[in-house]
Symmetry: C2
Subunit: 342 residues, 2 copies
């Protein structure tokens, strides 16, 4: 009888250990002073950051969705980690929280240390951009579970915010202005639909050039999600923001209302910002309705700030000075809770 | 031309919203007083628990591994959530931390609200057992990514511990005793090998009866991982524990040394605890070497406590009074960092 080993059953602990060593080295570069100890014990320790009187922890979890499929097709794995961190920390930022620490879950059919290292390199880059420490993670080898060469990623982000400075939208009133911050493209949402159009309807390959977008399919569809930590945290030191919405799955249509209090309605002016060509392409080639586009994709706006009308201009200028592309995209009106487009 | 919608591309936002409503209701039952607000905003808030002078946060992430495959075969989804919480919080407990909050990531090819609800029911049950609040989660619908009916789960656990009471094994010295706590069976590790033996070599179905184990394949292989929160936290109020090891992937052989300081070696006495029949079955039918078994499976011991020799008996008795099955399974000896079996 053939003797079975864990390795023969598809799990290579030695490869896993090698991957862990590579990850630990990378992760250490993100450590903040609050991090106690190092990765490798059963769990990972952090002290609550100093300078908070009544610190509140804010937590969020997310994945990258089927954007990963594009990474598989392009065999490029060093940018989806940025998306992973972005999806998590942008959700913390909308509440005024400082990204604090991050953990990742990476599941794959077979651990290939070089590929794991590329993925973690992206996560580490994202953590640097967000200013949070990558304090732990799990690399799960699950043979017969993921297709060869494929993997899934989940991220867990924890931030901290002074309790009296939590931003939750409750202060929003009619007449407030909506300030939109540019996205880098699709970010990490709507890829099931986007892939259907690009790869099935148009029959494109990742290496094909997208004339309208001025870059290849892979470049366009793997452009990492923007992490808004630096501009938002800098802005909040000087200006008041009443509410924010991170535009993810559900688009502006579903995400912006999440931050509005009762009796407040968002009025978003279509045409007040430039819609990137990739969205036009998907809409045209997929024959997608306007409303469907707006509730699936970010349409070029990755984050929306709700601000006092009198502050709007100064906030736009400050964000521009911080290197952001921003637009006044609408305002809050009295009415049924929800959103309308003009 | 056929118009594409996000739903036609395989993502059903309405089903997702229905699942979110079911989850929110379940999750609310786990809330602790520190939880601020409810699930549904962009992220979720908690205050640091009171009663800590210098609180340290401890974080861990893990999945359930290919134990999920057994849940798929048995079409039983209400227990893997317990495994998910167990894998996370047991890692916090080894450091003396109180499980505080939990977030889950659930990725599937198609959101079926009833199935999602069953999975979350298990997570909620695990959170109740651990005493932590389920404050958030992500249900990702990823068509063409997971096989029909399949899903993956990742969990993120955060605990809190008084800094001066962190347990890290540094106080361990030769002569300390090893106290083993019973596992409920395979827990959530070694399933790639276990499945190969049970389903491929033996050709069993999940509904088949396992004579040696006195229960069906599904019952044996889906028995939820034990959550050691209640006995461990109760014990720590009265007794000193110098180090703990949660026996997961890598078995006793790889997990126990993780907690030992330099110059300390674990001497584990095989035969000092009863090895559950499922492990004997896997070893015999798979022709697996002893050493391979010990570095793949928990062999009946889910958690090991390293305690002062003089305290060992009182600790065993206290744990027994708390309903635990415990054994004195060995001791620490001076020598090269590592483990040996006697």
């Amino acid at each position: 009888m053939d003797r079975l080993t864990y390795k023969a059953s598809g799990v290579d602990i030695a490869a896993g250990n090698e991957a862990v060593r590579r990850i630990a080295r990378l992760a250490r570069s993100t450590f903040r002073p609050e991090v106690l100890g190092e990765i490798g014990s059963f769990a990972n320790f952090v002290r609550v950051p100093e300078g908070y009187r009544d610190p509140v922890l804010v937590a969020s979890t997310d994945g990258v969705g089927t954007k990963l499929k594009v990474a598989f097709l392009a065999d490029r794995h060093d940018s989806v980690g940025i998306d992973l961190v972005a999806m998590g920390v942008n959700d913390l930022l909308v509440h005024g929280a400082e990204p604090f620490f991050f953990l990742d879950y990476l599941a794959t059919g077979q651990v290939v240390p070089e590929k794991i290292e590329a993925i973690i390199t992206g996560i580490v880059e994202g953590c640097h951009q967000a200013g949070c420490a990558l304090i732990g993670g799990e690399t799960a080898e699950m043979p017969d579970f993921y297709a060869p060469g494929e993997y899934d990623l989940a991220g867990f982000a924890v931030g901290v915010v002074e309790r009296s400075r939590v931003i939750d939208g409750s202060a929003i009133t009619p007449e407030d202005h909506l300030v939109g911050l540019v996205s880098s493209g699709l970010h990490a949402n709507g890829y099931s639909l986007a892939r259907k159009v690009v790869f099935e309807r148009l029959g494109l390959k990742v290496t094909d050039h997208l004339e309208a977008c001025g870059r290849s399919v892979a470049e366009e569809m793997l452009a990492p999600t923007r992490i808004y930590a630096k501009p938002i945290l800098a802005l909040l030191k000087e200006h008041r923001v009443k509410g924010m919405a991170h535009i993810t799955g559900g688009g502006i249509s579903e995400n912006l209302p999440r931050v509005l209090p009762k009796g407040c309605r968002a009025r978003v002016r279509l045409g007040s910002w430039p819609v990137p060509p990739i969205f036009r392409l998907i809409q045209k080639e997929g024959g997608v309705e306007d409303a469907e586009m707006l509730r699936t994709f970010n349409m070029g706006i990755g984050m929306i700030l709700v601000v006092e009308a009198a502050d709007a201009r100064a906030i736009r200028e400050r964000l521009a000075a911080l290197g952001e592309s921003v637009w006044e995209i609408g305002n809050v009106i009295p009415g049924a809770h929800g959103i309308e487009y003009a």
